[in-house]
Amino acid sequence: MPAEADPTLAALSDQLILVAVLFYVVAMLGYALDLAFGRSSTRSSEAAAPAEEAAAVPAGAALATVGGGVTTAPEKDGDAGAAVTGDAGTGTDAPAGGRGPSPWVLRAGPAAVVLSWIGFALNLGSLLTRGLAAGRWPWGNMYEFVVAMCLAAMGAFLLMQLRYPIRFLGAFVSAAAALGLGFAVHSLHVETGPAMVALNSYWIAIHVSAAIIASGLFIVAGACGVIYLIRHDAAAHLPTREELERVAHRAIVIGFPIWTFAVIAGALWADKAWGRYWGWDPKEVWAFITWVVYAGYLHARATAGWKGKAAMAVQLVAFASLLFNLIGVNIFFEGLHSYAELPG
């Protein structure tokens, strides 16, 4: 491992991350426009034609449930939305009553998706160049964890929206990613270089990557949870509670086994590095708490009387302990996991 980091690559990494933030911010604006105008137009056209059958297939709510039409292949958000609008008799080009959005607003959503893919690529590029600069895995300190976690959240969202109509989440995920990256650049940045001795192990690739991927999924679920709780019943342009629940559940069902694996990989690493596989180090305690509360969420969904709001609240508690583990434990507690290398 080289003792000296490559300064050109390191500088490139620092610039890429700034451009990535820029893209995320613009994407967020696009999603916000889409959320405010694009979707509500779909909704209001449904409201305008309640008797028509098409209204029974709400554009976004169709989360891959193909309702009555077995032969219809599930469609992506954008297409489904357009199709329904058409069915409802209020063509997108000629909005009823002139209140509808102009065509460019309708393009804001797809454009935002493209922008966030570019932002994602830049975010990834920044991590890669940083890792290459130091000749190691690019998650050796807290700056790098936060950057990687933003990448994972955005990645989880982008991949999920390929399959499920969840573009509405884009505004929240890209806002979270932009803020996270901004926070990392502003308060966590340290010069790149070799990692702590204890991190010289292939386990970092396994354990930390799994934790990051799971966290990305949990962030998507957490965004759903926050919207769920602040959502007004009258806010027609926001997704329905059922949609939010479904997306959150999806993300957690995928994230939870990955988290389980991350914790077990951590235990295997601890068995190699610290001489015991489990020792209630603060990070282990909070990983355990996070695990138990997410397990609680899954159980709550299966228990009568705990569905809906209560389950969402449980999910958010688990999410809070996840974030606390990432940030709070690194800052407040001293333990074996003190690899965060906060800037002094």
Binding site: M1, A3, E4, A5, L63, A64, T65, V66, G67, V70, T71, A73, P74, E191, G193, P194, M196, V197, A198, N200, W203, R246, H249, V253, F256, P257, T260, F261, I264, A267, L268, W269, K272, W274, G275, Y277, W278, G279, W280, D281, P282, V285, W286, F288, I289, V292, G296, L298, H299, A300, R301, A302, T303, A304, G305, W306, S321, V329, F333, G335
Partner: protein
């Protein structure tokens, strides 16, 4: 458990006038209900929070001791509540034991039910398939036999009746779920076995010294209750050389790049020696007893002559690191054999010593570029070691120091080979060289493999239980043509997509059906 359960009314309805048996039954039902398990799960999480707030014995003993000196009254109360031993506390054990009993109570009946279920046939087709959540009209002239064949191809379990076929699949969901919970029990048992039959010990070894795995050789030895001293794996080794490298330039100057210890290991008494490069993340494994490198530091060597002209001490003194960034360290030498009076010395060791502007000395780098030893306190008198109370080798208690005669306060640092004469003919101290020490943890935990297997099993089973759904499909063939209906018993919205695929397979045969649906 992650399967829909109707509200447990039996748990709600308390027995009106039942005897002890009734109460016991009510208690058991309540304990094993889903809601109780959920609450216990949250309590379990909540109960471990204090374990991260207060320092824990066995994890950070020094901080626990510090807490007791800083605020003794509070510490005493915390101790009464086991808050320095959260994970060994009876209230913590109570929660997880109840949780696991609840788990057993939940798993046993469900395993029985699942075994019965596994042998049962799928239920017959309902009369009106169009009422089901999924429904489709099939085209072509399907026969019941052909429908059954095609469903079987899709790995449905199928039965047929007059004019209908019924298929069901997804049994692995419940199997996975049960297995997951059983694996958690296995994990708990493995951890328990490990703590009863395993041991852990710490020892500090200086370059050139050796270690043989016996209870007496440890600085600290923590056996499980079922371990006997004879069962320790009889290996031994010598620390031949310790090497550490540090970053020399830049923002991270002084951070360790790597360190490793070269050991000459003998697996059994009399066995041939082999060389082992011991590093962080690469423990030495001798038949399941593992030796870990967990810390390191400097052990300067000294030759101390007492007032009578005798060599009273010669050898290495392990120093504790005070400043991890520069490895500025401190050590204490106690010489009870010195004549005419006992000697106690306090020494600062600076691996890369430079003078500061105010006339002090400091270390600027962890590597031993310019090692210096500074005697900052030398005392003559009674070291108080005879009264039998154990003393730390790293400090002279303040109340003993008070009664001794100070000889030197803050001498100039010595380079290697230099000597400091103690005033009043009390003798001299010569700084003869620099060695390094390593701190090791040695563990034997018979529960670790079973724990790993349980954990791996739990994860795999979890994936099954979270991703597989139980689903049923029926086909009815009558005069009006053929139709299919389906439902899924667990939540998770997108059975429609799969159902479409099943319908395609029923229409065109499984192979091109699968192709069409992709």
């Amino acid at each position: 458990m992650t399967v829909t359960e109707t509200p447990d009314t039996t748990a709600e309805a308390r027995p009106a006038k039942l005897g002890a048996v009734g109460w016991a039954r009510w208690f058991w039902r309540t304990l094993t209900s889903m809601r109780t398990a959920l609450i216990l799960l949250f309590l379990f999480a909540l109960a471990s929070v204090p374990g991260s707030i207060w320092p824990q014995r066995g994890v950070s003993d020094a901080k626990v001791a510090q807490y007791h000196t800083d605020s003794p009254a509070l510490a005493e109360w915390l101790d009464r509540l086991w808050l320095f031993d959260v994970f060994k506390a009876p209230w913590f054990a109570a929660i997880y034991l109840l949780l696991f009993i609840s788990l057993i109570g939940c798993v046993l009946p469900r395993t029985a039910a699942h075994l019965r279920e596994l042998r049962r046939k799928p239920p017959a087709a309902p009369r009106n398939l169009s009422r089901l959540p999924q429904h489709a009209v099939l085209d072509g002239d399907l026969t019941v036999e052909e429908a059954a064949r095609r469903l079987r191809k899709l790995r449905f379990r199928v039965i047929t009746g007059p004019g209908w076929a019924a298929g069901e699949k997804g049994y692995l969901r419940e199997s996975g779920n049960l297995l997951f919970h059983v694996a958690l029990l296995g994990l708990l048992i493995s951890v328990g076995v490990g703590s009863l039959y395993g041991y852990r010990g710490n020892v500090l070894v200086v370059e050139g010294d050796g270690f043989a795995n016996t209870v007496a050789a440890y600085d600290r030895y923590m056996p499980g209750t079922q371990v006997n001293a004879e069962s320790l794996e009889p290996f031994s080794f010598t620390l031949e050389d310790f090497q550490a490298t540090y970053i020399a330039r830049g923002e991270k100057r002084g951070q360790a790049l790597d360190y490793s210890a070269r050991l000459a290991v003998s697996d059994r008494p009399g066995a041939a020696e082999r060389t082992y490069e011991l590093k962080v993340n690469e423990p030495l494994d001798v038949n399941g007893t593992l030796t870990y490198l967990i810390d390191h530091g400097y052990a300067p060597t000294f030759k101390i002559t007492d007032g009578s002209g005798q060599v009273a001490f010669e050898g290495a003194v392990p120093c504790l690191v005070v400043q991890p960034a520069t490895f500025a360290s401190e050590c204490v030498i106690k010489i009870p054999d010195a004549r005419p009076r006992q000697l106690g010395l306090m020494i600062a060791f600076l691996p890369s010593a430079v003078p500061t502007q105010d006339g002090e000395w400091t270390s600027v780098f962890p590597g031993a570029a310019n090692p210096a030893a500074q005697v900052y306190g030398a005392f003559a008198g009674d070291l108080g070691m005879k009264d039998g109370r154990p003393q730390s080798v790293y400090e002279i208690p303040a109340e003993i120091l008070k009664k001794m005669t100070p000889l030197v306060m803050k001498a100039d640092p010595l380079e290697v080979g230099r000597k400091l004469d103690l005033p009043g003919g009390a003798g001299s101290i010569e700084f003869t060289g620099v060695k390094e020490w390593m701190a090791l943890q040695i563990t034997h935990d018979p529960g670790r493999m079973p724990a790993l297997l349980s954990a791996a099993l739990a994860t795999v089973a979890l994936v099954f239980s979270l991703t597989i759904r139980r689903r049923r499909v029926w086909v009815r063939i009558g005069d009006g043509g053929a139709e299919a209906g389906g439902l899924t018993r667990a939540e998770g919205g997108d059975f429609g997509e799969e159902f479409a695929r099943v319908v395609a397979a029923l229409n065109h045969g499984p192979n091109d059906g699968a192709k069409n649906a992709r």
